[in-house]
């Protein structure tokens, strides 16, 4: 190597919104590249909810008929009921996958390349969050397309109106993943996330059964389900898929997103964050 680049002897001017946009583009582009290259991840993300739809829902169809309840105008088959929950499942696993990859990137060092960018850290992390959500939303639409052949046929407009709900729910779950990644110092600790976050969140929610049914057997479980942020994300998706808005779900999902994000960004703050205090993780 003779020379590498030519330092111009001046700090580059970086005014305006363009560098911020270019940075977001770059992060999104990298997430898409990784997504395309890791085809196994795409299929795994699809197979998981499809197994639930094709096998679990088929098996329980006779046992768990769902009576008329909003947003459904009539009795619905069980597979139709659980479809929004399975969309939420894709977003939940994707959010945790992003969190896992952040812990991995930190251990492997590539996180540092991101964090030394001149743009603010909160912005970089938000870019990474949004990029991960957009990739997850692509997976949800792929799932909905396959589910359509399984007679899960929401109104056509529902495919459009569900988009903001998917993005918001994805942001909430990814913010939770980001928060977890700021706490988790080593990759090995991530197995605990499966047991203590993903499974309880999914099963103690309205994803698989209506909460009023749960209340018939356990009031405590009902209350846990009603407080579970995942429940509100699923209900938001459920109503949006039928071109309806559920205001309380929207408000609570927004509130949880803000709360998770605030704590996660605090965790990654170089001055006060958890990692700054421990010296681990970056």
């Amino acid at each position: 190597m003779s020379t590498v680049a030519t330092p111009r002897g001046a700090v580059p001017a970086r005014g305006g919104a363009l560098p911020w946009w270019l940075c977001f583009q770059g992060i999104l582009w990298r997430e898409l590249l990784r997504f395309v290259q890791q085809r196994g991840r795409f299929f795994a993300a699809l197979v998981r909810p499809l197994v639930w739809l094709f096998i679990f829902a088929a098996g329980f169809r006779a046992v768990l008929g769902v009576s008329i309840q909003p947003p459904y105008a009539t009795y619905v088959l069980y597979e139709i009921y659980i479809t929004p929950g399975l969309c939420g499942m894709i977003l939940l696993f994707s959010g945790m996958q992003s969190s896992l990859s952040m812990v991995y990137d930190r251990e492997m060092g590539s996180m540092r390349a991101l964090l030394v960018s001149p743009l603010p850290r909160w912005y970089l992390l938000c870019c990474k969050l949004v990029a991960g959500v957009l990739v997850a939303v692509i997976q949800v639409y792929a799932f909905l397309a396959i589910a359509w052949f399984w007679k899960v046929e929401p109104p056509a407009i529902g495919y459009l109106t569900v988009l903001p709900a998917l993005i918001l729910a994805g942001l909430m779950l990814s913010a939770l993943g980001l928060l977890l990644s700021s706490f988790i110092r080593q990759l090995e600790n991530f197995a605990g996330v499966m047991n203590f976050v993903i499974f309880p969140m999914f099963f103690a929610s309205s994803a698989l059964y209506p909460l009023w049914r749960v209340r018939e057997s356990s009031v405590l479980l009902y209350q846990i389900g009603a407080a579970n942020p995942f429940t509100h994300a699923v209900e938001l998706i459920r109503f949006a898929l039928y071109a309806q808005l559920e205001p309380s779900s929207l408000a609570l999902t927004l509130a949880w997103t803000a709360a998770f994000l605030a704590v996660a960004l605090y965790g990654y703050n170089p001055a006060r964050g958890f990692m700054a205090r421990t010296g681990k993780g970056t």
Partner: protein
């Protein structure tokens, strides 16, 4: 601040002098402790003049990586001040980080991406537009002799070549200060020697200021500036000749031994 270290710190640039008159890097009375540990850095002061190659020499555990984590703002220095080209890292992090390129000890390339994809990602993180990024990537790869490997996955490159790519990436935004944290770790002898020569050449021919941390004395050249760090404190600093005088030794190995050996646990 230790008496020895004080010699290495020039007076801060006045506002009238502006950022261009300031050293590439000024570290002033920085102390840092992790939550449950002893002080990792204790009243550390040093400066890297514009266009100089400054080696930060210290044994393992001396605090070199912690210091670089503060300089690159992975952590915030709660005590003391750090300025890059006159820009305070805490008050103006964007300008300070924008004036600096960083190569970490750990490899930070995405091994599943190609060389070019890694560089394009690095350019995007610096907010470089596509055209400028392409031009600088082409230029950088050509100069390090990797133009024909641009579509190779980073995974397929040797350790030395990966480091070259990281240096190209660190210089894409044309910084005035290049910070490298033990960049020769894990490289074979030839790659190590080549890398040391390359970065010295960059410094000499292009006027780039370099802060190079190491625990290997053969990476330091006689014309370099040298700061010896041990147990979180600066033990000596200045030109190599000045450090030898301060240590009362006639070569770097002797000075390093004197400045660190009697204090080792």
């Amino acid at each position: 601040m230790t008496g020895v270290a004080a010699e290495t710190v020039p007076k801060p640039a006045s506002k009238a002098e502006g950022a261009h008159a300031a050293p590439a890097l000024e570290i002033e009375s920085v102390s840092f402790a992790y939550a449950r540990g002893a002080k990792a850095l204790d009243d550390v002061s040093l400066s890297v003049p514009m266009g100089s190659f400054t080696a930060l020499l210290g044994p393992n555990g001396a605090g070199k990586t912690t210091l670089l984590s503060l300089v690159t703002r992975l952590f915030d220095a709660r005590q003391g001040g750090i300025r890059v080209c006159g820009h305070d890292l805490r008050a103006a992090p964007r300008r300070a980080l924008g004036a600096m390129g960083v190569v970490f000890q750990q490899l930070t390339l995405d091994l599943d991406l190609t060389v070019e994809q890694n560089l394009r990602y690095g350019a995007a993180l610096q907010g470089l537009s596509g055209r400028a990024a392409r031009r600088r990537i082409d230029e950088g790869l050509r100069r390090v002799g990797l133009a024909d490997r641009r579509r190779a996955k980073a995974r397929t490159l040797s350790g030395g070549l990966r480091r070259r790519v990281e240096i190209v990436r660190a210089l894409l935004h044309e910084p005035r200060l290049l910070v490298l944290d033990e960049p020769t770790v894990g490289l074979d002898i030839d790659s190590r020697r080549q890398l040391v020569e390359d970065v010295h050449e960059l410094c000499r021919e292009q006027g780039l200021a370099v802060l190079w941390t190491t625990h290997l004395i053969d990476e330091i050249w006689p014309e370099d500036r040298l700061v010896v760090l041990h147990r979180g404190r600066v033990q000596a600093g200045g030109s190599v000749r000045e450090v030898l005088r301060q240590a009362g030794a006639d070569n770097i190995a002797g000075a390093f031994a004197r400045l660190t050996m009697d204090r080792r646990p």
